[in-house]
Symmetry: D3
Subunit: 256 residues, 6 copies
């Protein structure tokens, strides 16, 4: 079986144990992970051969992130090294009347400073049949978006299936200009698109037509869903499958 | 009693518990501190009124650093807020045959982006009689060095005693140009200078004359010490007291 | 903005981690707090200037309680020191079929041995506009009740708003005689009274008239509530506001 | 083999983990123990049948102390119950340049309020051949001293061997009057006395005659030791064995 | 009051803290317990005199299991010693979408190698009035089943009440042949039988007659229940009481 | 660079945290490791390509051991699976006056039940240049010894360098007969032999001739060392290098 390749950032997550607040903790729980690396770990758990591509700093924290991938049987041969730091986020888990809090500290991470040309995608894809990216990666930085574009183009050219999870993250995108343009170009190379109606709206300004969520029935919702799918298919003719979760229900349209 | 003011950076220190290695830890111990804030805490422990000045990010980690100061009875009224992150360093404590490791992640911290004009030193010093800085602060960034110079000049003009702990840190200084020039100007405003022969050499290229550490006796060491002190006094005529630890023994020269 | 002053006891809470039983634990989680100090912390979190008054022992545990207040930005300038111990309670958190357990060990605490004259209330209230106490404080000891009475009288005389949370605690009151008399006098100095129908009944033997909880409708409940409020207003004519939670719903009567 | 009986107090020891200070800890390590109960545990480890007598409060913490004894195979059939609290002490372990700290919170413990007549010593000693007490027990309170005296008298009358470890504790004795008189009477019932020269001096004002520690030789030390032993034997003629550690060396005198 | 005796195995349970997975944990929580020892602990908590019989290895882990029983006031005088290891099981607590996992490692435990003749049941039962065993014990090994049979016969002969909790465990029984025969003989000596319809079916192939769970009413369920009880009573005429939980409701039939 | 292959057992080590005793711990620290796997990890740390061969049970604990190897960049492609359990040992770290304690629970482990023919050594060694085993592996069981013999023969035949660390373990060997014969045959296939004089004596009854440790000088020690080496070389003519640590000093003899 040929490999799946995923591409993204691993962050160090630091969180006070249990329901402690930041101001009460004298220890933080430590986890290394990220959206795309977690997909890679899940595939590896099902014995799918998988390679994770990222950029890690050459320090002990980068090494810990690398070891976590190796431990979980994710291929790490094409990870590249450089930059100054591993991105971090701090998570305080909420309790009864108190929401969770996240403090991001991921600017200037090794991955955010990636540039096209750094990863040798032709070699990466030589033994691969599938490339998966998410909407988080191009949101990290312009360099990450450009590297992602480079990857989808080469993957296309080399005949790999390309999939994306649109995964809109408002906090991240504000740091990168030309958001819609970037996502539209990247998505146009995809064979399979996952997303929900918020992703469609925030990334591409595609809105369900004629939908009134609160008062109308199931039939109308189905119409609205069809409307989003049709607009997506019109915008991304290459996509064979668009898998959308609309208002909590999962639907798929096949571009036969 | 009028206050002592110290000025520097608070870092978040994250370290695996006990003698665990980074790659073995799933928790990190959490401590907020720094050279100048630790001096402030020590003074507060002896009931000396003390004010700590720094720049903290307006997030939960900045708030934790602030709370640590308040808890220890250090004045925090003149701390300024802004920037994006609290500086971090990771510490792995060494065991029998294994050295300790430090991974710095302090670039782009709130304090490293401080600039002259941000702190209202005239107000800070209004109820103060003493200003203390260390060689770590100007090494953080050119902005921090400039803010420190601003502080010593105003402290001088307002009649405060100014002291410094030269505290040479090779790793930090490489990020800031004009090292010797900066330290020489800053030190020239000091009434009291603490340091050892390494500080004198690395900051000011002052070397003990005629010292041969391994073979010569106590008398020769004393001569070498005198030589360093004399060179320091010649370079910094303002200083009333130069307290030097030479080869493990502490000595003080008074500029009567 | 002038300050709010709260008055009460800080206890050391010791509890087995998670759902461990006392007999299974070889560690206890440590928290310093109390009803009135928690109110002070909440106000400080909203940037309301607040001063907490209590009596702490001059030992390391008293110092920890003090540091917790300082850390949270609660004023501690009027805390007084003396006595032999910090009050303690042990809390075992219940699990599915097992209730929580509390073991009190607060007798002979520094705060329980407070006496009128120890706190210089005139100085405390000089920059204050509001004094808040709860029904827990007079229940600690006769001395604490007398000190509380001293405080409300001076607060009244100096024109502060006085509020109370009646907060009936059966376990505590059995140690102090003349319960109703004490609470009646203390409450008579209050401008704002918070409490529920249990507080009204246990402190003042005020019962909702004509209430039959199980069978009767909302209208009857409202009548009953009115009845409690009217009795409270008759008993405490000074109070401008009586805020009562009756049978789970919150209501307020204004003494216009 | 008939039993050994020891008599004393079990305290709850609470200490910050590792080298944390009280003000840094959000957990305390929990240990239940005491001088005389530790002797009982040691004997039980060597399969000596042993019974520990104390007074415990009837709450969950008293139960934990009881369980610790049972777990270690120490007999608990003659422990009596009553009083309000288990005595506590807080221990902060010192590090390099910082001494350990102890905060005692043992006043008003169940054991400190023991009185003669509470323990049925005749039943306790029925199957015993040895009674051991230490100088800590009479120092707890006058009641504890009186109960100890009651015990040694009955033990004597019933033919048990009575031993004591004099174990002078300055902090405790200041709470109990007539110190020398109490200890002299208690010790006069002992067959075996353990102690060092500090115990002899602080309890009985017995000083080594003609000793000059810093300048004199081993022979003189031996003389001094003999002098202490002779004075002890003269004072306590009943004692068959006086085991003294003098200046670090252990010696024993037999009253043949 | 004469004693209750229970007989079974204590296992060491090792589980990752909280909701950690095995592969995330660098610590395991430690608990010593088992079905029959837990019954003994519960009885001891209600001050019922109780003796627990098992076989423990003579190593530190066997000693820990013993201490846990002693701590909880369970009699341990008739525990026997030998064999090589304490049985272990590893438990990973499930979270939201993930089931709990158990890894058994109990083969070749000291208790699994018990044989008839090892326990001196006549002495054990001398001061006892009740013997309780469960369906787990004979499932451990043929030796354990034979020792259990030996026990119920002697208990019968000496006039003790014998009770059992049938407690079918599929995973365990596959290691022991002649399952139904063994359980039938053991149960035939019982005065009181606890179990549910699964136990009746799996141990004795007794099925509720005429039961159709999904569609029929309460009356039919009662008939089915009666049918199970009647079959059980027919099979085990000695039993005075058969307590069955059928389909979630508890019922008891008395053999008057 | 061709690979190094090591062969041995990974155990689960469970130890009370810090200096806690088994009987005080309610958590155990968890580490997966063993002599030969630790050698593999060290080589991997120096970027030497290395493959570790063992037999692991197909359960979650076997998976954890596997993940630890993968994490550390040790090749795991030739690990075989089967058997029932991962071997365990319990370690209590000693403190001041108390030695460390080890409780082994490794009987019937997956590795102890390995047999010749299970590992496909020809494939394992295809890309390897070096095979390393230790005296621990043949001591585990007769099957492990036979599998080790199979490995050294094939390694020899395929031209790999074979090395051993003799590593005598008294506790283990008593379970395997024909100890000297097994070790002699295994060692006869080795190119490089590491060991000390105890290994030489316990494995092969080779003793330093004419050595009197306490009274004789360095020259005599050197003679004794030569004597051991000469006897080893005579017994194992194939060995090119015998590296011996004698009485604390390391020496090597080359069989040129």
């Amino acid at each position: 079986m040929k490999k799946v390749v995923t591409f993204g950032e691993i962050l160090l997550r630091l969180s006070p144990p249990g329901y402690q607040r930041f101001s009460q903790a004298n220890q933080f729980d430590v986890v290394y992970g990220g959206g795309e690396s977690n997909v890679a770990v899940s595939l590896a758990n099902y014995n799918v051969p998988v390679e994770f591509v990222t950029r890690l700093p050459e320090n002990d924290l980068g090494a810990c992130a690398l070891m976590e991938m190796r431990k979980r049987a994710v291929g790490t041969n094409h990870i590249i090294y450089g930059g100054n730091r591993l991105g971090i986020y701090f998570l305080e888990t909420g309790a009864v009347n108190r929401g969770s809090k996240v403090v991001y500290d991921r600017a200037n991470s090794a991955m955010s400073e990636i540039e096209p040309g750094m990863v040798d995608w032709k070699t990466v894809f030589q033994e691969a049949q599938w490339f998966h990216w998410t909407g988080i990666t191009p949101a990290i930085s312009q360099g990450a978006a450009a590297a992602c574009l480079e990857a989808v183009k080469i993957a296309n050219a080399m005949g790999l299936t390309v999939s994306t999870d649109l995964n809109y993250r408002a906090k991240l995108w504000k740091h990168v200009g030309d958001h819609e343009e970037i996502m539209t170009e990247l998505t146009s190379y995809c064979d399979i698109i996952l997303g929900n109606e918020e992703d469609a709206e925030k990334h591409f300004e595609i809105q369900p037509e004629g939908l009134d969520v609160t008062t109308q029935g199931e039939a109308v919702k189905a119409d609205a869903f069809l409307s989003v799918c049709e607009q997506m298919q019109a915008k991304f003719p290459r996509a064979q499958k668009i898998i959308t979760t609309l208002l909590g229900s999962i639907s798929a349209s096949h571009n036969s």
